[in-house]
Amino acid sequence: MATAHTRTLSRLMIAPSVVMLLAWMAIPLAMTIYFSFQRYNLLNPSRRRFAGWFNYEFFVTDPAFFAALTNTLVLVGGVLVITIVGGILFALLLDQPIFGQGIVRILFISPFFIMPTVSALIWKNMMMNPVFGIFANIAKSLGLQPIDWFASVPLLSIIIIVAWQWLPFATLILLTALQSLDSEQRDAAEMDGAKPVALFFYITLPHMSRAITVVVLIETIFLLSIFAEILVTTNGGPGVASTNLTFLIYARALLQFDVGGAAAGGIIAVILANIVAIFLIRMIGKNLEA
């Protein structure tokens, strides 16, 4: 097969995609690295020059950076906890034979198909608005003081919105895992005297561990770069209370026109994402081994 001729030909054939990949991946990364070492502000582009590690130093020592880092991790962690626990509970519920099961399942998945900006707007204006939001109305009807969600608990508000979007995904994956549990195993555990709670913790949960791992890994990738929900609702505020790394980089580049600083932030975000990925793979990756 692999004669010299076919090898040359195959190289020639895959060349375009390799070139495309390089162009799409390597060039932006290289440019970002390059800009991160430049003093380059769009308000004063003529004063562009090599800056050494200054941009990194400036970005890391900025008090907003540490807040953004914490917010990022809290946001990812919070959403993961809610979607995994909630996903398991909803999966158990949807696994029961109920009337109109098909319709209920489709309704349940639908939040996943709503664009982040749209769902964030709906939450902002219809649910969490302190004057005419549904939560405010519920609070008022109970005689309580309505909460001004985005002013008093901005990060929690965003966690709720994002969790609402990702809950269906987690539920769906966990439901398929649940349905693949061998019914004879369940019968055997029942004969062995396992009560429903023991059945869940000894049989069902270990069976779902692989699916949970997949959900955690996939969600983490997307949650590290949450942006639209923050832009639409709190704009990172009040102060930096709901600013995550992505939003901080955006603020640097497009609000302060500091391209160099934003590039440095981007590189830091890439490194952070890799650290998280390594941790996750170390911690739960063994679940994926067959």
Partner: protein, 348 residues
């Protein structure tokens, strides 16, 4: 202790009546085998006894106590499943220990029991392994181990050997038989396999479409089948059935004669025919013979019988071992126990 009684047990799935009504009395310490064609309700009946399915009607009694409403664990039965149903994420030790843990037994007692069971079943070297790292036979033994540590009043086996290869199956069959003699506990065993049924059982229940066709010892079923279904189901190769004028000569709608009760000759006999298949197994020779109006007959000649495709042979059925059946398939002549479900092992 471990007598089991079923009283007009009925099971309906949706609008399909799978078990129309079964009465059965199983004595303590007996080895009972359920046989029947696929889909006849063997597993369902076993699951009804185990408590894994709810009864539509009737009663299940264990040691004369009504357990119809009891949860499976309360019935003190243990079940071994066809797929083994081991817990894949637990080690062999934890698999066997699981029922004891659920019973909240203390750790040292669990440890001792599990090791004893592992010893009996030659599993000691594998206690730390996961089920995925075991062979089929070892997995089966773990499943049996998980069943015996609970010291149940009866064991239920649902086709436990059907996933094993032929040689291992024979081995495990002997082990299960030995286990029964050691423990002297009631066992109910579901199988497709005739040989397993005949060799293991004290008594066999032949099921057909959820009905008990006959209940008796292996030889009773072989020698005195109560109807055509049982006659055809027990014995291998299957009994030959002949209808029409030949059967009418015997005052029957159908007559049946087993392949091993036919004398094969190259010179003379009652029926003559042409060999269409000859299987030479060394110890036996099985012939399929095309006998014209009578139909195709399977016959066994013991030892080597040198005929081949297209040869003419003569067959003589043993008249003393020819069974006669009426229009409804019932046996005429000897009075076999008609679907005897009363639990008496004596022949009337």
């Amino acid at each position: 202790m471990g007598s089991i009684r079923l009283e007009s047990v009925r099971k309906v799935f949706g609008d399909a009546e799978v078990i129309p009504g079964v009465d059965l009395k199983i004595n303590d310490g007996e080895f009972i085998v359920f046989v029947g064609p696929s889909g006849c309700g063997k597993s369902t009946l076993l699951r009804l006894i185990a408590g894994l399915e709810d009864l539509t009607g009737g009663k299940v009694l264990i040691d004369d106590k009504d357990v119809t409403g009891n949860a499976p664990a309360k019935r003190r039965l243990a079940m071994v499943f066809q797929s083994y149903a081991l817990y894949p994420h637990m080690s062999v030790f934890n698999n066997i220990a699981f029922p004891l843990k659920m019973a909240e037994m203390e750790k040292t007692a669990i440890d001792k029991k599990v090791r004893d069971a592992a010893d009996t079943l030659n599993l000691t070297d594998y206690l730390h392994r996961k089920p995925g790292q075991l062979s089929g036979g070892q997995r089966q033994r773990v499943a049996i181990g998980r069943a015996i540590v609970r010291e149940p009043v009866a064991f239920l086996f649902d086709e436990p050997l059907s996933n094993l290869d032929a040689a291992l199956r024979v081995n495990m069959r002997h082990e299960i038989s030995q286990l029964h003699h050691q423990l002297n506990t009631t066992m109910i065993y579901v199988t497709h396999d005739q040989v397993e049924a005949m060799t293991l059982a004290d008594r066999i229940v032949v099921l057909n479409e959820g009905r008990v066709e006959q209940f008796g010892s292996p030889l009773q079923l072989y020698q005195k089948p109560s109807n055509r279904f049982v006659a055809g189901f027990i014995g291998s190769p299957m009994m030959n059935f002949i209808e029409g004028p030949t059967a009418a000569e015997h005052d029957a709608h159908t007559i049946g004669v087993r392949p091993e009760h036919i004398i094969v000759s190259k010179k003379k006999g009652t029926w003559s025919g042409v060999v269409t298949i000859a299987e030479h197994l060394g110890a036996d020779t099985f012939l399929r013979v095309e006998c014209g109006a009578i139909g195709t007959i399977t016959a066994r000649a013991s030892g080597e019988f040198t005929v081949g495709y297209g040869d003419t042979v003569f067959l003589t059925p043993d008249s003393k071992k020819t069974y006669r059946f009426d229009k409804n398939g019932r046996t005429i002549g000897h009075r076999p126990q008609q679907a005897d479900t009363t639990g008496n092992q004596k022949t009337p």
